[in-house]
Amino acid sequence: MSIKPTDTWKHLHFRDKETVRQTDSSARVFSPARKIHLFLGSLSSLRNHARSPPNGFLTRLPDFRRNFHGNKETYPIQKPLDLASHFFYYVCLIQMNVKSINCLVLGWIIPGLGHISLKKYWKGIIFFVCIYSMAALGLIMEGRIYSFQTENPLTILAFFSDIGNGFFYILSRFFSFGLGNLKNTTFEFGTAYIAGAGLLNYLVALDAFDIAAGKKE
């Protein structure tokens, strides 16, 4: 038996002539035992995906060219069960991301609501009190909530930090408060309070996202 160890023949080491002949032909006929082996492999991968769903937003993608031993297969894996297992994997991935994105949006709209939805009540309440206290103090100091305008490019940054307040910002647009009073000595500090509250709320919402996505305990 003389087999050249070329790339196309790598997987045929330690196999008998019968296997070589079978694999060499384009028919790719597998023995019943091999079929059972592959079937169990598919079940195993399905079960493993079910038990350990992806734990992050950017997780490792499933390697279609690996069998259940973790070795690289040389034949194409296009079996229905493999496809089903990968489909299940992606469903898990999407479900987890939907949950984490929900937490992100909730945390952005009302500070701490993302944490409350994750049953971290005390953290959520403290975030809510701190961030809305800062925003309220900013309003009392007659700070300004900036809308989007391109006349002064620096105010674009202020706008992006202000919309971090979520619902508070939306309310300010509807009821037109937070117009600011330049004459007041506390104007600058008030504006900084409101912008700081928005930036902190971004961090809080991202924290809720990370917890929901399993990136953080």
């Binding site: 953290k123 403290i126 975030f127 701190c130 961030i131 206290s133 800062m134 103090l137 009392i140 100091m141 000595t185 506390t186 500090f189 900084a192 309070y193 700081g196 902190l200 961090l203 809080v204 924290d207 305990e217």
Partner: protein
């Protein structure tokens, strides 16, 4: 008016920021308190020192 004092406003701002950051960055209660105290001191003392540094330019 308390809020007209810039120093008090800065200290209050630092306190809020410290509480939120400590809750985000640390998990255990003890380390949260320690981290919040460290951040608070860093911000307040840093701001006062920087204020005195800027004062040099007015002389």
């Amino acid at each position: 008016m308390i809020l007209k004092s810039h120093l008090f406003s800065m200290i209050l701002y630092a306190a809020f920021v410290c509480i939120v950051l400590a809750l985000i960055r640390r998990n255990e209660r003890k380390s949260q308190i320690r981290y919040a105290a460290f951040l608070f001191l860093l911000m307040v003392v840093g701001a006062i020192l920087f204020g005195w540094f800027m004062y040099l330019f007015t002389l």
